[in-house]
């Protein structure tokens, strides 16, 4: 806690003490007049001076705290009860009640706060309690809004849906998981309201509707001081300072406490790599390539790149590979000076692009290079394009900036967009992931750069779209002769694109060289594990389980009502499937085919479901797509498992042993049990989610894209873990866009397209076109080109 927060806390404490114990401290002296001592300047016998009636100013300031403390207390309580109550009910129940309550909130918001307060205070008669009531009745709407939004949001969160599937009732979810998470935003509001009340109480007194003289109240004291503003300014300054100090302290403290409550959600775990800079001699590099030598990057004092050396020859392709968090992106951000201004970043070493030294160049120099000599396309997380501007306008200003020779339309055509006119008129929110990636590449090409750096260009895409983007990158390079640098953790993609590979680990390059050499004879342990992850051996062939059906679904249909006056969307158009006991079934399809809806419909948490699901067992559990959202971020792994075991009615004496067994089963240790979700790596988090799902001993486990958020090393390890679960574990239904992943696990693979199951593997020769695409995408990324150098499917 910093000094100013300590001062703020002290101020608030003094305010509360003065308000509560005021009469004891002052003993009624605040009303004692003594005209012989009128308007004394601050001095030893009256520290803050005296007013026109000879009353001691300090005593009156202390006594004046009482009205404000009472008002603040009453108003905050009313806001919590009224706003919190309305918010929780509206957010939890939803529907018509929600809309009705929102209208009520709208009405109260639209009545000007002070105005209604004024009318109420005027009509109920002036006085501190009336003032407080009036303010309380008008100040609660923000609480209702915040609480409603948060409740609604949290209610739909995977972590709470998962709890419902484990058998938790609404009371438990509301009291243990939703209300505690409201602390942060509500505390911030409380501080703001407290400050508002202090100011409003004084203002109402000024308007003649609160406390009246001679009652000591900061507002009336300010009013009384006015005639003496020039002759006795202390009479004004004392209460003004009191009001401002308490209000400022309330605001400051609220900011600080709010940060505390939401602690962990805003903080990013920083890794720091230490060690001497690797001294690898870089090859001499003429022309338009990229050469980075012994580059170090420190962000906020932590070393994130510890001496990286790599070279991309002009016109060639370099793939930067490595596990997530190994410093791949940091190297590029450091070389180009692209860290956000509030991060204190220091860059050392050398980064040369087309003969320009970038390190130490300064913002103006870097600006001349960026986009024109070297272009960088950040990883697409859905908000890499300005959401407000149309695609065409964004391209046009990039072209203008660089005086580029290609128009926006030509750039869109260059990146393989078939209908550039239409796409130019769209906003980023209307584009699919594959389209967004293409538009990003088009923006990067506007300045006709000699070097193009693409960061994880396919991570947000399904397998079919990823093939398209990789092919596009190859085409761009062939046509324009651009030096291409691709950052990825997918070795399959690196193999497709690159002639040189640099492998990162712990902030430095641990191995680099020609792609074929690095891939066929990996020298470093990290490279070996990456190669192993990219090329999992096929599972031993086992006879498919032929037991009785565990789950049978018939003619499942889900239709979402159209939003914004659009026609309704059919997500499932009649799906039937069976899963046998002990069987692992996979459903694959491209994004938007309805596979996640199918997962939710089967788990019974899709309210718009039609059709029948019959199940021979009792329990079904769903592992949600995003492991980061699947756990309550305020709950450590151990307590989360304990809660799941409790819900499964495991006697409390046996919970610790069961918890240990669960952790062991998914490859975690007791140390992980004490960590919260954000303190775990992606792979560990997914294991924790799996452990909790297993706590309820489900008969069927549905896994929605279980590995799509994991980097390739973690992905391989998680697939191995799921394989171990086969046999003694539950039946499984896997949902994925990646045929290569599910094939390694499933007995049967169903192919989905446009809300229907259109094909099944491994049966039949007559393939649906979607199946052919998926198979082609699998083969495209599976085999490393050392074994198959030019096998590009056309």
């Amino acid at each position: 806690m910093r000094v100013r927060h300590a001062v703020a806390a002290g101020t608030v404490a003094a305010f509360v003490v003065a308000g509560v114990a005021g009469p004891l401290l002052t003993g009624g002296r605040e009303r004692r007049t003594d005209l012989g001592r009128a308007l004394l300047a601050p001095g030893l016998d009256a520290w803050l001076g005296t007013d026109h009636l000879g009353r001691d100013e300090l005593v009156r300031v202390v006594a004046g705290a009482r009205g404000s403390v009472v008002a603040v207390g009453v108003v905050l309580l009313m806001c919590l009860l009224l706003g919190g109550g309305v918010g929780v009910v509206a957010g939890w129940r939803g529907g018509l009640l929600d809309r009705a309550l929102l209208r009520l909130v709208d009405v109260v918001t639209s009545v000007p706060t002070l105005l209604l307060g004024l009318v109420l205070a005027g009509l109920l008669g002036g006085g501190p309690v009336q003032v407080a009531l009036a303010l309380g009745l008008t100040l609660w709407p923000p609480y209702a809004r915040v609480v409603r939004t948060e409740t609604r949001l949290r209610r739909g969160e995977p972590s709470n849906q998962a709890l419902r599937l484990l058998g938790a009732g609404p009371a438990r979810i509301l009291l243990r998981h939703i209300l505690p998470s409201l602390g942060g935003p509500v505390v911030v509001l409380l501080g703001i309201t407290a400050a508002e009340v202090i100011v409003a109480v004084a203002t109402l007194s000024f308007l003649g509707l609160g406390a009246q003289p001679p009652a000591p109240e900061w507002g009336t004291m300010l009013v009384e001081s006015r005639p003496y503003l020039s002759t006795a300014p202390w009479l004004f300054l004392a209460p003004a300072t009191a009001v401002a100090a308490v209000a400022v302290a309330g605001n400051l403290l609220a900011d600080r406490l709010g940060g505390w409550f939401t602690h962990g959600t805003t903080r990013t775990a920083g890794k720091s790599w230490t060690g001497a800079a690797a001294k690898t001699a870089a090859a001499p590099e003429p022309g338009g390539g990229l050469r980075i030598a012994a580059l170090t990057v420190d962000v906020n004092g932590a070393r994130v790149v510890a001496g990286a050396t790599l070279t991309a020859p002009p016109g060639g392709t370099l793939a930067i590979v490595g596990p997530s968090g190994s410093g791949k992106t940091m190297t590029v951000l450091g070389a180009l000076g692209l860290f956000p201004p509030h991060l204190a970043a220091r860059v050392g070493g050398s980064a040369r692009v087309a003969g320009h030294e970038l390190v130490g160049l300064g913002e103006a120099g870097l600006r001349a290079v960026r986009g024109r000599v070297v272009a960088y396309v950040p990883q697409d997380v859905g908000s890499t394009l300005n959401p407000l501007r149309r695609v065409g306008a964004q391209l046009a200003s990039a072209v203008t900036l660089h005086s580029g020779s290609r128009s926006a339309r030509e750039l869109l055509a260059l990146v393989g967009i078939e209908d550039p006119e239409r796409v130019a008129r769209q906003r980023p929110g209307e584009l699919s992931g594959g389209m967004r990636q293409r538009v990003l590449l088009a923006l990067a090409l506007a300045g006709e750069p000699q070097v193009l750096i693409a960061d994880e260009p396919t991570s947000a895409l399904d397998a079919t779209a990823a093939v398209g983007v990789v092919e596009l990158l190859r085409r761009i390079q062939r046509r324009l002769g651009t030096t291409l640098v691709v950052i990825t953790h997918e070795l399959g993609m690196a193999a497709r694109l690159a002639d040189t590979i640099a492998v990162f680990d712990a902030g430095r390059v641990v191995e680099s060289g020609p792609a074929s050499t690095v891939l066929s004879r990996p020298g470093h342990a990290v490279t070996r594990s990456l190669v192993a992850a990219a090329d999992l051996p096929d599972p031993p062939a086992a006879p498919p389980p032929s037991g009785p059906p565990l789950l049978t679904a018939r003619d499942l249909r889900v239709t979402y009502p159209g939003r914004d006056r659009r026609p309704p969307v059919t997500a499932l158009a009649g799906v039937g499937l069976t899963v046998r006991r002990g069987e692992v079934v996979a459903v694959v399809g491209n994004s938007g085919c309805g596979k996640s809806t199918l997962a939710r419909a089967l788990a019974g948490i899709e309210p718009r479901r039609a059709g029948t699901v019959t199940m021979d067992g009792q329990r079904i559990h769903l592992v949600f797509q995003d492991p980061a959202a699947a756990l309550d971020r305020r709950q450590a792994v151990g307590p989360a498992l304990d809660e799941a075991l409790q819900l499964h009615r495991v006697p409390s004496a046996r919970i610790p042993a069961r918890r240990t067994a669960l952790l062991e089963r998914v490859g975690l240790t007791g140390a992980h049990a004490e960590r919260r979700p954000w303190q775990l790596s992606g792979g560990e988090r997914q294991r924790a989610v799996l452990a909790r799902a297993l706590a309820g001993e489900p008969d069927l486990l549905i896994l929605d894209e279980p590995v799509s958020a994991l980097d390739s090393t973690h992905r391989a390890a998680f697939i191995r873990l799921l394989r171990q679960l086969r046999g003694d574990g539950p039946s499984m239904l896997l949902i994925s866009h990646d045929l290569g992943v599910v094939e390694q696990l499933a007995d049967r693979v169903l192919v989905m397209h446009a809300g229907r199951i259109v094909d099944e593997l491994p049966a039949g020769q007559d393939r649906h076109p979607v199946t052919r695409d998926l198979l082609a995408a699998r083969d495209y990324f599976r085999h490393l080109p050392t074994a198959d150098p030019e096998g590009v499917p056309s």
């Binding site: 002070l114 100011v199 308007l207 209000a247 394009l385 300045g447």
Partner: protein
């Protein structure tokens, strides 16, 4: 397929209808509150006429003013006449309320517009300074100043400014509208500074969030300067997400005019409302409460509509 009706016209029409309904609800609420009140204009009139204040005299006066009718009859009667532009007669002045309100709405609008201008300019300045300045001193000063401005009662700020600039330096008049633009300076500052500080705090936070977005990394990677990124990319995005809050803050200026008009003796709706409230003068009170509510509702509605117009994402949530 369901029939597609609508477009922007229908949306706007819907919003307007919603706002009209809201005004009706508020008129009902404020009327209800007035019915619950202790004392009414009859008492004020009798007290003003002098002589003994007896129940008989008050009852007679109440009958003369029509205050003894059942509340629902009075409400319907009032509503019916309000539609035709007849807002009743002020008991205190004996003049038609409609005329008095029309006289007073001009000064209030002038004050509110000037105050909004001050608020928006100060808000922009605070938001930009805190995010563009590279040093530590300027942002810290800006943060401290904005925090202080939202923490001081407007009337106290007015006292201090009047004492300094009107009484000591004599630059501006202390009271009233005489003196043209010079008379407007201090009231507009007192009205706009705290709102601007609140606006600046919101905008600054939003800007800081937006500056960390990937599309700003992308913009800088394309070679746009920091200034261009801040002004052309970050500011519009931050402004859009601040619009709704900004609408609320600016709408609250409608209330702020009460205090400012009272301090500066500004002959607007706010001071009209307060004197009507003190006299328990119903018709002017109803009329001015409703008019100020309309100002608030319209400016909130306008900010929501503006947000939806600029940002397609705001449409479904608005």
């Amino acid at each position: 397929m369901r029939p597609r009706w609508g477009g922007p016209v229908a949306v706007v029409a819907g919003r307007v209808a919603e706002m009209a309904a809201l005004v009706l609800v508020i008129s009902l609420v404020s009327f209800g509150l007035l019915c619950l009140t202790r004392g009414d204009a009859a008492t004020s009139v009798v007290r003003e006429q002098g002589g003994p204040v007896t129940q008989e005299r008050i009852a007679a006066e109440r009958h003369r003013l029509g205050l003894d009718l059942p509340p629902h009859e009075r409400y319907v009667d009032m509503l019916g006449r309000a539609v035709t532009g007849d807002l009743g007669v002020s008991v205190r002045t004996g003049r038609p309320v409609a005329g008095e309100v029309v006289e007073r709405i001009g000064p209030t609008l002038r004050l509110a517009l000037a105050g909004s201008l001050v608020a928006v300019l100060l808000g922009l300045a605070i938001g930009l300074v805190e995010n563009a300045a590279t040093g530590r001193v300027l942002p810290a000063v800006s943060r401290g100043l904005s925090l202080l401005l939202v923490s001081v009662p407007a009337f106290a700020l007015a006292f201090a400014l009047v004492d300094q600039f009107s009484v000591r330096l004599g630059w501006f008049p202390t009271q009233g509208m005489a003196g043209g633009l010079r008379a407007l300076v201090l009231p507009a500052l007192v009205l706009g500074l705290p709102a601007g500080a609140a606006l600046g705090r919101v905008l600054s936070t939003r800007l800081r969030e937006v500056m960390a977005e990937p599309y700003l990394v992308m913009a800088r990677a394309q070679g746009f300067s920091r200034g261009a990124c801040l002004l052309r990319t970050a500011l519009p995005n931050a402004a859009v997400t601040s619009l709704v809050v900004a609408g609320n803050i600016l709408a609250a200026l409608g209330t702020g005019t009460l205090v400012v008009e009272e301090v500066f003796g500004w002959p607007g709706l706010g001071s009209y409302l307060i004197s009507a409230l003190r006299y328990r003068d119903w018709q002017p009170l109803q009329a001015s409460v409703l008019l100020l509510s309309v100002v608030v509702i319209v400016s909130r509605g306008a900010s929501l509509a503006l947000a939806a117009l600029v940002d397609p994402r705001a449409r479904s949530t608005a």
